[in-house]
C-alpha cells in the first residue's frame, strides 16, 4: 500500500493522469451518498437509485473495454450478454419458472446468482465468440451486431419460457441472511434475519463493491500474461501467433470475460428493477456502452469509467432535463411567450425535447473532435493518434543516453 501511495505521489499527473482519476473516482464513489443527501435536502433515495443504474452502465463499460479496448475486437452486440445476465436472474430468482413447462419456481439467493450469471454469461460469450474467431474488424462487428439483435428477439419470441414482450416481473429482492438494525436506521437495536434489501443506499453499496472488484480484477489482468497477449493480438495477430500466443484461446477468453461483467450487471439490474423485458436490451444499449468506451479512451480503465459516467449523465440526466431547463431559462429571460406553442412552433419545452438527440450528437462530435483519442486514453492509443510527431521520444531517448 505504501509503495502504491509513493508511486501515485511521484507520478507526474500531466504525463499519467490515471492515478489522479482513480483517486477522484474513489473519493466521489465513497462520498456520493453524502453529496446526494445534501443535494436532495435529506432524501437521497432517487439520486442513489440513479447512481445504481449508472453503475450498471459502468460495469458494462468495464466489460466491453476488455473486448474492444484491450483485445481490439469490435463488438456491436454487447447488450446480448447483459440480457442473458438479467434473464438468468429472472429465471432462477422469481416465481416465473412455475409458469413455464418446468412448473417449479427457483429462488436462488442474489449473491449466488451473481456468480451463476457470471458463468452463464461467460459461457455464452464463448458460444457467440467461437463462430466469429475467423473474422476481423468490420466483419466481426457485423456478426456481433447480428447476435445483439438475435438474443433479445429470442427472449421476446420464446414466450412459453420468457412470457415474451411482457417480460418477467416480481423478481426476488436480494436478501441478507442477517443484518443488524439500530437507531441509525430508525429501528430498535436488533439482529434481523432474512433482511430484505430495499434501501437505494444498500443497492448503491452493492454496486460500489461490484465496480471496485471488477476494476481491480481487470487491472490485474491488463498487467499480466493474458493482458499482454490481448494487446499483441490487437497490434498484429500473425506476429502474436508466431510468438506463441494461442490467439483463438485469447480471443475467446476476452469475449468470456467481457460477457462475465455484463452477467454481473444484468443480475444487479434485474434485482434492482425487479423486472426484465426484452425491450431493455436493444441495439441502443450496445451502442451507448460502445460510445462510453470510445469516448472515455479505449483500453484505459479510468478513462472508460470517466466516459461511462459522463455519457450516462448526458443521456439519462442532462437530456431529459433539457425541456424543463429551456422553459425556465425562457421564463427567467422574460421570454415567456416562447413557452407557448404558436403556429408550427410547439413551444420551447417541446422544441428542446425534439432536439435532445441533436444535442447529444453534437456533444459526441465535439468531444471526438477535441479529444479524438478519448477523454483519458491509454498511452498506446495516444501514440497511435500522434503518428508523425513521435520524433520527440527519440530525442528524449538520446538525451537520456547522453545525460
Amino acid at each position: 500500500m505504501r509503495t502504491w501511495f509513493r508511486r501515485v505521489w511521484e507520478t507526474d499527473p500531466r504525463r499519467d493522469p490515471n492515478s489522479v482519476v482513480y483517486i477522484l473516482l474513489a473519493f466521489f464513489g465513497l462520498t456520493f451518498p453524502i453529496i446526494a443527501n445534501v443535494l436532495s435536502g435529506g432524501s437521497p433515495g432517487f439520486l442513489l437509485s440513479v447512481a445504481g443504474d449508472a453503475g450498471v452502465y459502468l460495469l458494462l463499460t468495464l466489460g466491453l473495454n476488455v473486448v474492444v479496448g484491450m483485445a481490439g475486437l469490435l463488438d456491436l452486440g454487447y447488450a446480448a450478454f447483459f440480457a442473458i445476465g438479467a434473464y438468468t436472474y429472472a429465471f432462477i430468482a422469481s416465481n416465473h419458472l412455475a409458469v413455464t413447462p418446468l412448473h417449479t419456481a427457483l429462488h436462488v439467493p442474489f449473491w449466488i446468482v451473481l456468480i451463476i450469471a457470471l458463468f452463464v454469461a461467460a459461457s455464452f460469450g464463448v458460444i457467440l465468440g467461437a463462430p466469429t474467431l475467423r473474422l476481423r474488424g468490420d466483419y466481426l462487428a457485423i456478426v456481433t451486431l447480428g447476435f445483439g439483435e438475435i438474443v433479445p428477439r429470442v427472449f421476446k419470441n420464446a414466450a412459453t419460457w420468457t412470457s415474451g414482450v411482457n417480460g418477467i416481473s416480481a423478481l426476488d429482492t436480494p436478501v441478507l441472511p442477517f443484518w443488524i438494525q439500530g437507531p441509525w436506521s430508525g429501528d430498535r437495536l436488533e439482529i434481523v434475519q432474512n433482511f430484505k434489501i430495499f434501501d437505494p443506499l444498500a443497492y448503491y453499496v452493492i454496486m460500489l463493491v461490484l465496480v471496485v472488484t471488477c476494476v481491480v480484477l481487470v487491472r490485474n489482468l491488463q498487467n499480466s500474461r493474458m493482458g499482454r497477449a490481448w494487446a499483441a493480438i490487437r497490434e498484429d495477430e500473425v506476429a502474436a501467433a508466431a510468438m506463441g500466443v494461442n490467439t483463438v484461446q485469447a480471443k475467446l477468453l476476452a469475449f468470456a470475460i467481457g460477457a462475465a461483467f455484463s452477467g454481473f450487471a444484468g443480475t444487479f439490474y434485474g434485482a434492482k428493477l425487479s423486472l426484465v423485458s426484452p425491450e431493455n436490451f436493444g441495439f441502443s444499449v450496445s451502442i451507448t456502452v460502445l460510445v462510453m468506451v470510445v469516448l472515455g479512451g479505449m483500453g484505459n480503465i479510468p478513462g472508460v469509467m470517466a466516459g461511462s459516467l459522463l455519457v450516462y449523465y448526458v443521456i439519462f440526466i442532462l437530456l431529459p432535463m433539457l425541456p424543463d431547463t429551456a422553459t425556465s431559462v425562457a421564463n427567467a429571460l422574460g421570454l415567456s411567450g416562447l413557452t407557448q406553442s404558436s403556429g408550427d412552433f410547439p413551444g420551447i419545452g417541446e422544441f428542446a425535447s425534439r432536439l435532445k438527440f441533436l444535442v447529444f450528437g453534437l456533444i459526441l462530435v465535439v468531444v471526438m473532435l477535441v479529444r479524438p483519442e478519448g477523454l483519458l486514453p491509454s498511452r498506446e492509443r495516444q501514440q497511435e493518434l500522434k503518428k508523425g510527431t513521435h520524433d520527440d521520444t527519440i530525442i528524449e531517448d538520446v538525451q537520456a543516453e547522453v545525460g
Binding site: 508466431a242 501514440q383 531517448d397
Partner: protein
C-alpha cells in the same frame, strides 16, 4: 559438432491455386549450425518459412522438427515446440514498449493461469518478476537495453531488427528462423549482426536464415541451399554454392 538433424523438410510443396510457390523441396538442417537459404526474389524462401512455422501450412510433404511432424501445426504450437522466427518486414507490436514486446515472447513459457493473474497471486507476481528480468537480460544480449521503455515503433531501424530477434529468443527456441535479418543494414551493422548470430549459436540455438547479402551469408553459414522458382537448385558449403553454375545462372542469367 554433432550431425543430428533438427529440422528436416521432405518433399515440401506449397501451391497457391495454380501457382507452385515451393516445389518438392527437401533438405536437412543440422543441430548447432548456421544454415542459410538464398535465392532470387520470389523464389519462395519466405513461403518456406511460413510453411515451417505454421502460418501457411504446406500443401503436401512433411516437415520434421526434432523427428516430430509439424506440417499443419498451428503457429503458436510451433513456437511452443521450440521454433521462433523474425519477419522480413519487421512485425513488432509497435505500440508496446520494447520490454513488453519481449514479454509477449515469454508468453508461451509462462505458467500463470487466468486465476493467478486475476487475483495477482504470489506465484504470478514472482513469475512476472522473473520474466521481466529475463526480458531485460535479452535486451542487453542484443544490445538495445537503453530503449527498454520506448515504444517499439520509436526504435531506430537497426534497434527494431534486434528487438525482433530478442522477442523471438524470448520464446526460448532451439531453432531460430531469421528472415533477411541484415536487410537495410550498413556494413558496420552487418558485422555486428554477424557477431550477434555467433552469440546466439553459442547459446545453443540453431540458426536458419534467409539472406540476400552474400557477404553475410558466406561469412556466417556453414551450409547453404539455393531456391529458384520454388525449386531447390543447389546445396552445399558456401564455396561449393558460390561456384555452382546453376546458382550463377539463377542470379545473373545464362552466359552467352
Amino acid at each position: 559438432m554433432s550431425e543430428e538433424t533438427i529440422l528436416r523438410l521432405d518433399h515440401v510443396v506449397k501451391r497457391f491455386g495454380g501457382l507452385v510457390a515451393v516445389n518438392d523441396v527437401s533438405f536437412d538442417v543440422k543441430k548447432g549450425e548456421v544454415f542459410a537459404l538464398i535465392g532470387p526474389n520470389g523464389a519462395g524462401k519466405t513461403t518456406l518459412f511460413n510453411g515451417v512455422t505454421g502460418l501457411l501450412p504446406p500443401t503436401s510433404g512433411s516437415v520434421l522438427f526434432e523427428g516430430r511432424e509439424i506440417a499443419g501445426t498451428k503457429p503458436h504450437k510451433v513456437a511452443e515446440l521450440g521454433i521462433a522466427r523474425t519477419f522480413q518486414n519487421i512485425r513488432l507490436f509497435e505500440y508496446m514498449t520494447a520490454l513488453e514486446n519481449i514479454l509477449v515472447g515469454e508468453h508461451c513459457r509462462m505458467r500463470a493461469k487466468l486465476w493467478d493473474s486475476l487475483f495477482k497471486l504470489p506465484r504470478e507476481r514472482r513469475e512476472e518478476q522473473e520474466v521481466t528480468e529475463r526480458a531485460l537480460e535479452l535486451l542487453r544480449f542484443v544490445g538495445i537495453e537503453r530503449w527498454a521503455n520506448s515504444y517499439a515503433r520509436n526504435l531506430p531501424y537497426g534497434g527494431q531488427r534486434r528487438l525482433e530477434i530478442a522477442r523471438a529468443l524470448a520464446t526460448r527456441p532451439r531453432l531460430l528462423l531469421l528472415d533477411e535479418p541484415a536487410a537495410g543494414f550498413t556494413p558496420q551493422e552487418k558485422v555486428e549482426l554477424m557477431r550477434l548470430v555467433g552469440k546466439i549459436l553459442e547459446s545453443g540455438v540453431t540458426v536458419f536464415l534467409i539472406e540476400h547479402d552474400m557477404k553475410v551469408v558466406m561469412g556466417i553459414s556453414k551450409r547453404i541451399v539455393v531456391l529458384d522458382h520454388g525449386e531447390l537448385i543447389a546445396e552445399g558449403t558456401p564455396d561449393e554454392v558460390r561456384n555452382n553454375p546453376r546458382v550463377i545462372e539463377a542470379y545473373l542469367g545464362k552466359q552467352h
